[in-house]
C-alpha cells in the first residue's frame, strides 16, 4: 500500500526540498503538507496543502473532518516544523518546538496506520558539549548556546519518552546551507545573514578558535537523507546525524573560502579591502557585543545579534559522528556532497543573487 505522508514545516528550507522528493516516489500516494503562516507553493497531484497549527491543540487547528481524514490515512509523519530563530526566548522556542511536538505526538497517537514518525532535530542539542558527539548521545549538563538548542534538546527527551509507544526516529541535521548543484538558498538562515554582514564589512569578529570545526551540509543531501530514513529505511527508536561528519571545515578555512569566493564571483569586492573577521575568544566578543548593544545603531546591532546567537557554538569545538547515517545512505548509493565543492557555490549564489533579493527566494528572512 502506498504511503500517505504528513509533513509539517514544509515551507522551511528542508521541507521545500523534501516534498518534491516524496512526490516523485511510487510508494507515496499522498502528501498532506501542513502549513501555518506561509502558503505552500508547488502543489501537485499528490501534494495537498492544509492549513494547521501544531501549537493549537490535538486537531492542529484543522476541521474535524479534515483531521479525521488525516488520522485515518497517514502512515508517515515527517515533523520539520520548528521555531529556528536563535534569538527567540526560551518560552517562544519551547512553545513551538517542545509543545508543538507534544501536540503532534498526541495527534500521531490517533493515527491507526502510522508506521513512522521522523522528527527533525539539530546536532546542536549537544549544546556546549565538546569533543566527539555520537548519534545515540543525548543527555548532558553542559548547557546551551541559545534557546533553540535547549528547546530541541528538551524535545528529544520528550521524543525518547514516547519511543516505546510510537515509531519515532530522530534525524539531527547540522547547518543546512544550500543546493550542492546550484548553490541556491531557498530560505535565509543565520549563517547566510552572517555571510552578508562579512561581505558588507559589518562582521568585525567571530567568537571561536581558528581550528573550530564548522559542520554544514547541502540541502539536497539533507532532504534525500530525511526521505530515506522517513520512508524507505524506517528505524524506530534510532537517532541519526545528517551532517558533515568528518567532511568539515575549520573556521579559519571557512573564512578563507568565503573570501576567495567573494573575490572570484565579485572581483570588484577586492577594492574594498575588507578584512576577514577576527577570530576571538568569547569574553572579547561579548565585550564587543555589549558595547554595540549599548551604543551602536541598528545596523551594527543587527549584525552582532545574528552572530551572537549562533556563532558562539564554535567556542565549544566538537565533531559529530555520522557513522550510522553514512553507512545507511551509502548502501542506497547516496553520497555526501563535498563541502569544499558546494560551499563556494552557495557563496556564489548569495553574491550573484544579492542574497536572494535579485533571485527567486521563496521565503523571507527567517532563521
Amino acid at each position: 500500500m502506498a504511503h500517505t505522508v504528513l509533513v509539517t514545516g514544509a515551507t522551511g528550507m528542508i521541507g521545500q526540498a523534501l516534498v518534491p522528493l516524496l512526490a516523485r516516489r511510487n510508494d507515496v500516494g499522498a502528501i498532506f503538507v501542513l502549513t501555518h503562516r506561509r502558503e505552500y507553493m508547488g502543489s501537485s497531484g499528490k501534494v495537498m496543502p492544509v492549513r494547521g497549527d501544531i501549537t493549537a491543540g490535538p486537531d492542529l487547528a484543522m476541521t474535524r473532518e479534515l483531521s479525521r481524514e488525516i488520522f485515518d490515512r497517514t502512515t508517515v509523519i515527517i515533523h520539520a516544523a520548528a521555531n529556528t530563530r536563535f534569538s527567540a526566548s526560551l518560552e517562544e522556542s519551547r512553545a513551538v518546538n517542545l509543545e508543538g511536538t507534544k501536540t503532534l505526538l498526541t495527534f500521531a497517537s490517533h493515527c491507526p496506520q502510522l508506521e513512522a514518525i521522523a522528527a527533525l532535530s539539530t546536532v546542536h542539542v549537544a549544546g556546549k558539549r565538546t569533543g566527539t558527539v555520537c548519534e545515540e548521545d543525548l543527555v548532558h549538563t553542559a548547557g546551551f548556546v541559545n534557546s533553540y538548542e535547549q528547546s530541541k534538546y528538551e524535545t528529544e527527551l520528550l521524543l525518547r519518552e514516547h519511543m516505546s509507544e510510537l515509531p519515532i526516529s530522530v534525524l539531527r541535521l547540522s547547518t543546512v546551507l544550500g543546493s550542492s548543484t546550484t548553490g541556491e538558498v531557498s530560505r535565509m538562515a543565520a549563517i547566510h545573514h552572517a555571510l552578508r554582514f562579512y561581505y558588507n564589512s559589518l562582521a568585525p569578529m567571530i567568537p571561536g578558535k581558528p581550528d573550530s570545526l564548522v559542520d554544514v551540509i547541502a540541502v539536497d543531501y539533507a532532504a534525500a537523507a530525511v526521505e530515506h530514513f522517513a520512508v524507505e529505511h524506517l528505524q524506530a527508536g534510532r537517532t541519526f546525524h545528517i551532517c558533515g561528519g568528518e567532511d568539515v571545515l575549520t573556521l579559519a578555512r571557512l573564512l578563507e573560502l568565503t573570501r576567495e569566493a567573494f573575490l572570484r564571483y565579485r572581483p570588484s569586492w577586492r577594492k574594498r579591502a575588507i578584512e576577514m573577521p577576527a577570530i576571538v575568544d568569547l569574553p572579547t566578543f561579548e565585550l564587543f557585543a555589549r558595547s554595540v548593544e549599548e551604543v551602536g545603531d541598528n545596523i551594527l546591532r543587527g549584525s552582532v545579534a545574528i552572530i551572537k546567537h549562533f556563532v558562539p557554538q564554535l567556542v565549544y569545538p566538537k565533531i559529530f559522528r555520522d557513522v550510522e547515517c553514512t553507512r545507511s545512505l551509502q548502501a542506497k548509493g547516496l553520497l555526501k556532497p563535498s563541502v569544499l565543492e558546494f560551499y563556494p557555490l552557495v557563496v556564489r549564489w548569495l553574491v550573484e543573487s544579492g542574497w536572494g533579493e535579485r533571485g527567486t527566494l521563496a521565503g523571507g528572512a527567517g532563521a
Binding site: P277, L287, V295, L300
Partner: protein, 311 residues
C-alpha cells in the same frame, strides 16, 4: 643608522570641561554617563587658534631642550582638518598662507624645510614622525626634524566622535639621528579608501576597526621581530577604554600594559595622543631603558597605523 625621538612637549586647550557640562551644552551624542563608563571624564577646549597651540607646543619644546634652532633640518606640520592648515583672511589668495611656513619663521627654524601633513585624520603626527624618520635616513646632512600637530575640533562639531570625547591640543616631537632614546623599530600604515566617507560608513568603520587593528599590530610586531609578550607598554590613542579593552583581547596583550592614565583626564587629542602618552609615561617613570613600546592609532580616511619603539 638609527633615528630616535629625543623630546616631546605638548599643550592642551585651556578650559577643562566635564563631560556632564559638555552634555548640558549639547555637545555630546551619547549620555555623559555612558562616556564616563568608557573612561572619559572631561575634555580640554581651546579659546585659541590651532596655530597658536602649535606655536606654544613648539616653543615649549625648543625652550625646554635648548636645541639649536638652526640645527633643525625639517619641520612637519600635521592637522586633521583643512582648517588647521589655513591662515585665511578675507583675501581669497590667503588660502596659500600656510601655518607651517609661519611657524618655521616665527620659531626661527631657518634651516628647516617645511612640509604639511594632512588628510590622514588622527594619524597626522605619527605619519609625520615616520616621514621625518625617512627624511633623516635619506638626507645625508640632516640630523634633526621637528614634527608638530595642532588640532581643534571643527567649528560647529560636537565634542564626540564615534563614542569618543574630543579635546583640542598640540604636540611637538623632536627626532634626531643617532638618538638612543625611543628608537623607531617598525612602522606600518594601512589606508582603506573604501571608508573615505566617515559619515556614511560609520558602521562599517566601527566594524573594520578591530580586525584591521589586530592585523596591523601583528604585522608591525613581526616587522620588529617581536611578539606581543615582548611589549612592555602600549601608548594608545585616547579613544574609549572599552574599545581598547576589546582590542587588547584581539592582540592578546594584558590590560596592565596599557598606559591609560590620560584617557580620562584629557580625552582624545586627535593626532597628539600617542606622543603625549609617551612623554607622560616617561615623566611618571613608567618606562625603563630598553622597553619595547607599542603605539597604535586610527584616523578617518580611513587609516590605521602602528609603531614600535625601543625606549
Amino acid at each position: 643608522m638609527q633615528v630616535g625621538i629625543s623630546a616631546i612637549e605638548y599643550v592642551l586647550g585651556s578650559d577643562t570641561v566635564s563631560i556632564e557640562e559638555l552634555e548640558a551644552r549639547g555637545l555630546l551624542d551619547s549620555p555623559a554617563a555612558r562616556l564616563r563608563e568608557f573612561g572619559f571624564s572631561c575634555a580640554r577646549l581651546s579659546r585659541e587658534s590651532s596655530y597658536a597651540l602649535a606655536t606654544a607646543a613648539t616653543n615649549k619644546l625648543l625652550v625646554t631642550t635648548g636645541v639649536d634652532r638652526a640645527s633643525i633640518d625639517a619641520l612637519f606640520y600635521a592637522g586633521a582638518t583643512p582648517a588647521c592648515h589655513a591662515l585665511e583672511t578675507s583675501d581669497p589668495l590667503s588660502a596659500f598662507n600656510y601655518p607651517v611656513a609661519q611657524l618655521q619663521y616665527e620659531s626661527e627654524l631657518s634651516q628647516a624645510r617645511a612640509f604639511g601633513v594632512s588628510q590622514v585624520g588622527c594619524l597626522g603626527l605619527m605619519a609625520s614622525v615616520m616621514l621625518a624618520r625617512d627624511f633623516l635616513l635619506f638626507s645625508k646632512n640632516a640630523s634633526r626634524a621637528l614634527c608638530v600637530s595642532a588640532d581643534l575640533s571643527p567649528v560647529g562639531c560636537k565634542r564626540e566622535m564615534i563614542y569618543n570625547v574630543i579635546s583640542d591640543g598640540a604636540c611637538a616631537v623632536l627626532l634626531q639621528k643617532e638618538c638612543e632614546r625611543n628608537r623607531i623599530l617598525a612602522y606600518r600604515q594601512i589606508t582603506k579608501g573604501y571608508y573615505w566617507n566617515s559619515i556614511a560608513r560609520k558602521n562599517e568603520i566601527t566594524a573594520a576597526y578591530f580586525p584591521t587593528a589586530r592585523n596591523i599590530v601583528r604585522d608591525t610586531l613581526a616587522d620588529a621581530d617581536l611578539d606581543s609578550s615582548d611589549i612592555s607598554c602600549i601608548l594608545p590613542h585616547n579613544v574609549s577604554l572599552r574599545s581598547w579593552e576589546i582590542l587588547l583581547g584581539l592582540i592578546q596583550i594584558g590590560r596592565e600594559k596599557l598606559f591609560a592614565d590620560n584617557i580620562g583626564k584629557m580625552a582624545h587629542v586627535i593626532a597628539a595622543d600617542n606622543w603625549i602618552n609617551l612623554r607622560d609615561a616617561t615623566e611618571t617613570g613608567r618606562l625603563c631603558h630598553g622597553d619595547k613600546l607599542l603605539l597604535f592609532t586610527f584616523g578617518f580616511g580611513a587609516n590605521w597605523a602602528c609603531m614600535v619603539l625601543e625606549h
